[in-house]
């Protein structure tokens, strides 16, 4: 039958493909189960091959400062940040930036090692939020470079080059899902730059000035660093967080930010998101259940229980999770829905360093518990833990839709998730025996 291939109906081609593919000879399947078992046994928390970036969302935590300090001058901010955000075993990492670090290359954005270069349409395929493009300045046009990264959540990088210098970035716009558990970009700091609160579409935004180093991962465990010579505007719009690098003035940058619009031809291409741990996880999903007595047997310090509110009683469920050393999780359930917790108290020691990555513009407030410094973190956020080696071990599953009080007492760090007010939460915290 001499039918031109282009006329062959799909079904025939499909049948051919099925038949032929069925005869495909694969290499023998290796013992992956055994290897995985070994890897998990040796490093139960470790991410594969250190690929997983320790770099956390730190840069978005900058916006925390907006709620905390009214005057943002360099040395004071630095000191203030350092003192408030380390609470015992929990460190709330604040991104700031450092100019002039030694081993960074002032290379253009398109480091050839940066993976993920793609087209706008393919990028849209990979993320579950609509990619937006600025319509200001009017001569900007489409981005010259598009990268997609998915180190720990989808991130789109859009780059526009200078007309006369095609390897110099003119504007670089990062778009990422605010709800992503972790973000790749982190600016490390030795000195802060000037941080200035501003507004985009009337909502709080952050302007970070001056040259600084931007670090990110190339996806293969190598950290790349780049000198960003311009200024950066960071803001949020609903579920998406943006970061705009440029040499524009603040006013101009805000104009660019406020000009972001959806791209009609991309709308059909959005990926559907994998379910994210943003809604509180039913308590049934938590591993490591124990009795209180068993849990006490696994730690050297005394597990303390709140005596406020009156009659609160022992926790309904107790869990022990291991991230290097144990974290005790005590959960009091909702009376009307025993699959959900109304209050959860974590207790841990210094071997576990938790890092709070704030993924939305929320408030962090300093307070005290029994005279010890404490932090009150409101609103949705993610908590991740890393051990002393710096390897990140676990993504948090938020168990309570509410706020978190973190404090340290006598070498034990506590973290209380609840929907209580700050005052009530502090009372609970101060009632521990």
């Amino acid at each position: 039958m001499n039918q031109s291939p282009h006329e062959q109906p799909d079904e025939q081609l499909e049948q051919y493909l099925r038949d032929t593919a069925g005869a495909f000879h694969y290499p023998p399947t290796p013992d992956i189960a055994g290897a995985v078992r070994q890897r998990l046994a040796h490093d139960p928390g470790q991410r594969s091959r250190g690929r997983h970036s320790q770099r956390r969302l730190a840069w978005a935590a900058i916006v925390l400062l907006l709620g905390l300090v009214s005057s943002l001058f360099v040395p004071q901010v630095q000191a203030f940040v350092r003192s408030i955000f380390r609470i015992g075993a929990i460190e709330i990492v604040v991104a700031t930036a450092t100019p002039g670090a030694s081993n960074t290359t002032p290379s253009p954005l398109w480091d050839p090692r940066l993976r993920g270069q793609t087209t706008l349409a393919e990028a849209q395929n990979e993320v579950s939020f609509p990619i937006k493009l600025p319509t200001y300045p009017p001569d900007l046009g489409r981005p010259n470079r598009v990268f997609v990264q998915d180190e720990a959540g989808p991130l789109v990088i859009l780059g526009w080059v200078e007309a006369d210098q095609p390897d110099q970035p003119r504007i670089v716009l990062y778009e990422m899902s605010t709800n992503t558990a972790q973000n790749v970009i982190r600016k490390t700091t030795e000195q802060t730059n000037v941080l200035q609160a501003t507004r985009v579409h009337g909502r709080e935004a952050l302007w970070v000035r001056g040259p600084h180093i931007l670090e990110f991962s190339d996806g293969r465990g190598t950290d790349l660093a780049r000198l960003v010579e311009g200024d950066v505007l960071i803001w949020e719009e609903g579920p998406v967080t943006y970061r705009l690098e440029s040499k524009l003035t603040l006013e101009e940058a805000v104009k660019v930010a406020e000009s972001l619009t959806q791209v009609p031809e991309l709308t059909g291409l959005m990926a559907t998101p994998l379910p994210l741990p943003m809604t509180p996880v039913p308590i049934a999903g938590l591993a490591g259940e124990r009795t209180l007595a068993e849990a006490q047997g696994e730690v050297l310090y005394k597990i303390r229980l709140p005596t406020y509110p009156q009659g609160i009683g022992e926790p309904d469920r107790v869990f022990v999770q291991y991230l290097g050393s144990p974290i005790i999780i005590l959960a009091w359930l909702q009376p009307e829905d025993k699959t959900r917790a109304r209050m959860v108290l974590y207790q841990m020691t210094y071997d576990v360093i938790g890092e709070k990555s704030v993924s939305s513009l929320e408030m962090v407030q300093e307070t005290t518990v029994n005279g010890n410094r404490a932090a009150w973190v409101r609103g949705p956020h993610f908590l991740s833990f890393k051990d002393r080696a710096g390897e990140t071990n676990m993504e948090e599953r938020r168990l309570v839709d509410g706020n978190v009080l973190v404090w340290e007492e006598d070498g034990v760090t506590y973290r209380l998730e609840s929907s209580l007010t700050l005052d009530e939460a502090v009372r609970v915290a101060e009632s521990l025996r």
Binding site: P5, Y16, A21, A23, P30, L40, R113, G219
Partner: protein
């Protein structure tokens, strides 16, 4: 499996197996490494084969397959165990492959261009049937397609997945799966016609 009316008859998971799998997932979540081990064992072949088809290299495929299960293990908390595990695992694997590919892509594309004239001969160390040769050559043809197109071709015709499972694995709507398949087939036809004359003849016979 598609019945005459085009309706999916079987998604690959019978009811009983699904329940068993959910059990194992729950136990794995609670820390049973035997449970996770058996889940990995049940799915390792499919994951390995897909990554092998996409990457073309046995060792890389093994790496990515292992990483898939490690990553999946740590993400078990977010997995809804009432759904089949395999498409979720394939989603993770596909993402890992995409990330890995992007950095290699540049170099491989250059290499591919260099050998575009003739499909590379398949050297056989053992006995291969004529059909195996054809399958290998077909694979070379599919590898000329774009990554997204390859993914749907492998999943559909090599792994024989349903469109519903593919939609989960690719994290797109089922309609998108259909249209990608359609485009992929069109492209494949062109590739075969221009670059793989031997295949074309086989197909028409």
């Amino acid at each position: 499996m598609i019945s005459g009316s085009g309706v999916q008859v079987m998604s690959g998971y019978e009811g009983g197996r699904q329940v068993e799998e959910a059990e194992l997932v729950n136990r794995a979540r609670e820390g049973s490494d035997a449970a996770w081990h058996s889940l990995v064992y049940a799915h390792q072949e499919a994951i390995f084969r897909l990554t092998y088809l996409l990457l073309g290299d046995r060792d890389e495929a093994e790496d990515v397959a292992q990483d898939t299960f490690i990553r999946a293990f740590h993400a078990l908390g977010t997995f809804d165990e009432t759904r089949p595990l395999r498409p979720w695992l394939l989603a993770i694997a596909t993402n890992l492959v995409r990330n890995r590919r992007r950095s290699l892509g540049r170099y491989l594309a250059a290499m591919r261009r260099a050998i575009q004239a003739e499909p590379p001969p398949v050297t056989t160390l053992g006995e291969r049937t004529g059909q195996e040769w054809e399958a290998q050559t077909l694979w070379q043809a599919v590898r000329r397609l774009r990554a997204a197109e390859q993914e749907v071709v492998y999943m559909r015709y090599f792994l024989e997945m349903s469109e519903a499972d593919m939609a989960s694995a690719l994290q797109v709507a089922p309609g998108t799966v259909k249209s990608r398949l359609h485009r992929a087939l069109a492209r494949l036809r062109t590739v075969v016609d221009t670059d793989f004359p031997a295949l074309r003849e086989e197909r028409q016979s």
